[in-house]
Amino acid sequence: MYLKKLEVDKFKSFSKHLTVPLFPGFTAITGPNGSGKSNLCDAILFVLGPKSPKTVRAGRLTDLIYNGGRSKQAASQCKVSLVFDNEDRTIPIESGEVTLTRVIRKVKKENDPDGYYSYFYINDRSASLNDFTNLLSNSGMNGYNIIQQGTITRLVDMVPSERRKLIDDLA
């Protein structure tokens, strides 16, 4: 199993629909400060990650939708798809490829200007976050495989009792 393709559409600084083919082996991503590298990492966490917006460096989930910057139009929804190669059936679904998609759409409700709907899809069929979590539970996507920017600094500055909690969590 490996991540075969990453598709982003109006997610954070990606204003257009972009498809990034990925390969097994070793891929490096580089670019200037503020160009959008960590936003790609956030896109992966958005689909796989825990429920809190803080994980993807956003105050509210609607902050993840392309905001138009200085000159363009803000979008009303964002979409991210992760396409996994599943030839080895690590994910318990009978197909050689599994696509996990998550969408956030802004919805103006009277009492909540930042209202949104959150949609999940597995191979283009509607699903829920729990479906995602169950599907991936045996695939090794345990959260320790994605190291966000700044994690190493936090690990260095941890006091010993915090560092021990890492072992507690593993046990």
Binding site: A28, S35, S71, I152, T153
Partner: protein, 152 residues
Amino acid sequence: KKEKFFEVFDSLNERYKETYAALSGGEAELLLENPSEPFEGGLTIKARPKGKKAMRLPALSGGEKSLASLALVFAIQKFLPSPFYVLDEADMFLDNLNAGAVASMIKENSGHAQWITISLHEAMLKAADHIYGVTMQEADSSKIVGGVNLGG
């Protein structure tokens, strides 16, 4: 509960010693502040960078500390393997030599798992099989260039 803790601790410590030695050529280990009552104390790292005296984490240099911490991340990942990994500028504090050592460890591991690393370091870009560049040439919009196959 304590039993389970020690099972994890011992196995992780084994992997930690291997990983740190492979990355730096020195030795390091995980140390419990209170070995008989682990939940009463914390966990620290004692590292002996190549050719130096052993010291606790706070006495090391910035780069030495971050290498010792990165080794812990790799050890946890060995303990709980995953099909793919993403590292976002985890090589930030390292000089070229240490960044090169991390790059070759990733290259070795990339035979049996997929590794995606975000980095500004030359040493990391040179070792990769494929490179993508992210730019914001057009204001307010990120683009991706490359997918350049170095066939490395």
